[in-house]
Every structure is written in structure tokens, then in C-alpha cells.
Subunit: 204 residues, 2 copies
DNA sequence: TGCAACTTTGCAGTGAACGCACTTTTGTGT
DNA sequence: ACACAAAAGTGCGTTCACTGCAAAGTTGCA
């Protein structure tokens, strides 16, 4: 149940390895400096100096400074879990399968748990980052809707956009709950709690 | 059921009227130019020239250029509907009262329906605006959580953050549905449809 | 080894956004 | 009608995020 891109070779070429190393170096440099001085007091120049890279290169990797702090990586929906979902699995029940998908997102994030945790730590202190993160979510809603549409068809009982939004909502809410618990506990337990509470609110 | 600030006098002073006129002039100028040339091709300078105002003044009104396009206005939760909600009304049933609150938000938006519609029209073509709009929502989640907490207390069965998130979700989803329908139909009907579909998805 | 594809980098430029000090406008009390 | 305080508008200078372009360096492959 891994969340990687499709067709990923077992061993990466030098080029690809260097790219990843640089991206991580930039993220780590950003985390170090921002953690110490705050987001606004750190310039892109400073980050690049810390990471030993030119400014121009920085912007080859990240669209914005904030993206580096969040570790936002160009993302394509393409995990095995997504394919399973589109094909109608794993259980065949929509809600259960949505939950499986959410768990797969959270269990295997694109930048690793530690970096993710550090990014969220910063985001808690820098509201702008939360906003940017929501924006990033929003940009990928189209992909989620498309995925849902592959599963349900256009003639399904639910609108793909709505289901996509729910998917996003559950992911975000679960993540917040997990983070509020200090990063402890399994993703699927937090998700279950979220779903239960959501149902309860809606039926009050 | 109006969505105004508390303590708003019946007749506004010259100062306040001018301020509103300027803000609206800036929004309208932004809409005109952006509608014609696109968001990135329009500079703040150009907007200010169109509106007959200095650039520095522009930034006294809006934090960013994008905010002007969206008509984002400094916002304080303070409508009569919000007070009613906090006090446990109007029906006493949580979900019904949440819906009443959403309807009050959508029925009486801070910048008027036409401008709101134009802003959304632009946002449909400029993804960045959608992102910024989400960010704006996010910034006000704290206020919503606080409102919910006033109603439920900390010892209630639901976490205020969760209920606040639901409130936001419903508002946003209803708005999208309303917009997709070309701005036709009553807010509460769209909201009901959204709630119904949400319940249906969750119980699948 | 050499060529093609990809990456990095420097440079110069654009334009958003802010701090500050100064002028103009508005509200108010006399 | 006038003066004075508070608020709003404005010009200037600065910082810095971000971009396009073309040159130089790296890597993959035959």
C-alpha cells in the first residue's frame, strides 16, 4: 500500500538521487532557519546560502518560499491505493473505500513523517503556511474528483466534486487530529473517530 | 436576519461612506481590468490609476492584490444570527441551527451579490484566487470555533474545531452549488441538497 | 568518447508590499 | 465660523519574492 508514483524504478539514477537530495536539503535548510528566526525574517537568499545552492535553483524546486517550508512536492495521484479505489475496491463500499484511501495518503506521505511533522510544527506558528497548505489541497481537488469519477462514472448517485471535497475534508481533519495528539496513534483510528463525530454532528 | 456588525448606526458619517465608496471603487476597478486582461497582466498601479487612488492607499484597504479581486473585507463575526446561534437558537437543534447560520452568511454577504458573483466568475478562471479564498476562510475558522464554543461549552459532545470546520465546509459547498446553478435558487434549498448528499455519502 | 538531454547558475528586470514622514480631509467642541 | 485632534491619503525609498533568458556544467547513452 505505497503512495509512490507509478513506474518508479527500484534503483534511481544519479540524476534523480541528486534531485531528491537537493530538495530535501532545501527543505531542511528552510526548516532550520525558519524555526530559529521565523518565516518572514528568513529570505530565500539565506536559505540558499545555507543549502549551498543558487537562488535560481531554489525556484526550480519550489514555486514559493512557503512551499519549501511545507515541503510541497509536485504531486501526481498515482498510488496503488488510488488505482484500487478507482477500480471499485478494496471493499466495494464507497465510504469504507474512501477511508482506505485517506489512510493510504496519511500513512505514506511524499516527504516522510519527520519532515512532515516539522512542517506542521512551523505551520502552527505561521498562519500563512496553513493557508498555503489549504491552497495546495485545493489545487489537487481536480485530481481527486477525476479519480472519484473514474470509480462512480458521471451517472453515479453522487457528484464527484462533492465526494472529492469529502475526501479532502476527511484527510485534513484526520491529519489535524493526529497532529493534535502529538503524532501518536494510528491514522485509521483517528480517521474513524473523525467519521464518527462527523456523522454525529450531521444527525443532531 | 442581517449579517452586519453590531452597533452599526443607521446613517453613516461622511468618513465611513467615503471609505466604503473607495473600497467598492477599487474592487470594481480590479474586476474591470482583471476581467479584461487577466490577473497577472494587471498591476496594482494600473488598478489605482483606474480608480484614481494612490498605490499606498490601495494597500490601506487590501492586504494583497488578490484580496481586492475577491472583495475580501476585514471581517468580524457579529451578526444577529451568530448571536442567536451562540445563545442556543433558533431551534435548539444543533444541525438545524448550523444550517440557519450558513444561510445567513450566504444570504447577506459583506460585499453584495453582484460583486460576489463577479469575484467568483474571476476565481473560476484564476486558480490562485480560489486558493486565496480558501486561505481567507481558514483565517476565520478560529472565530467560528469560538462561536461554537460559546454555544456548546468546552464540555459539549463535539469539539468546537470540528463543528467549525463543518460550518465552513457547508458554507463553501453550498456556495459552489449555488454558483454552479448560475446564481439561481434560494440558498437554503442548495444547502439542504448539500446536507442530504453529505449524509448519503457518509452512510454508503 | 562524444553527443543529446537535463540542470544549475548569473544577471537583469518586474512588481508586490511595507515603513515612514508629510499633507489633506473629516469630526467635534466652542 | 474657527480651531484642533483624529483619521485617512499620499509620495518616496526600500526590500525581496519571483521570472525569463542564455551560458556553463552534468549526466545518460550509444
Amino acid at each position: 500500500m505505497q503512495n509512490n508514483l507509478v513506474d518508479q524504478p527500484e534503483v534511481l539514477g544519479l540524476r534523480e538521487r541528486k534531485k531528491r537530495a537537493r530538495r530535501e536539503a532545501l527543505i531542511d535548510a528552510t526548516h532550520r532557519l525558519v524555526g530559529e528566526h521565523g518565516l518572514d525574517a528568513v529570505t530565500v537568499d539565506a536559505i540558499c546560502e545555507e543549502a549551498g545552492v543558487s537562488v535560481r535553483t531554489f525556484f526550480n524546486y519550489f514555486e514559493t518560499k512557503d512551499d519549501a517550508a511545507l515541503g510541497h512536492t509536485p504531486w501526481q495521484l498515482g498510488s496503488a491505493a488510488a488505482e484500487t479505489f478507482a477500480a471499485g475496491g478494496p471493499t466495494g463500499l464507497l465510504m469504507a473505500d474512501l477511508q482506505a484511501l485517506v489512510v493510504s495518503f496519511l500513512t505514506d506521505p511524499p516527504i516522510g513523517r519527520e519532515r512532515l511533522a516539522r512542517a506542521m510544527e512551523l505551520a502552527a506558528k505561521e498562519p500563512r503556511l496553513v493557508a498555503r497548505h489549504m491552497a495546495w489541497f485545493e489545487q489537487h481537488k481536480g485530481q481527486l474528483s477525476a479519480l472519484v469519477e473514474r470509480r462512480l462514472g458521471q451517472d453515479g448517485p453522487h457528484s464527484p466534486e462533492m465526494v472529492g471535497s469529502v475526501l479532502l475534508f476527511l484527510t485534513h481533519a484526520t491529519f489535524l487530529r493526529w497532529d493534535a495528539a502529538g503524532g501518536h496513534g494510528a491514522a485509521d483510528e483517528h480517521l474513524s473517530a473523525v467519521v464518527t463525530e462527523l456523522r454525529s454532528i450531521l444527525s443532531d
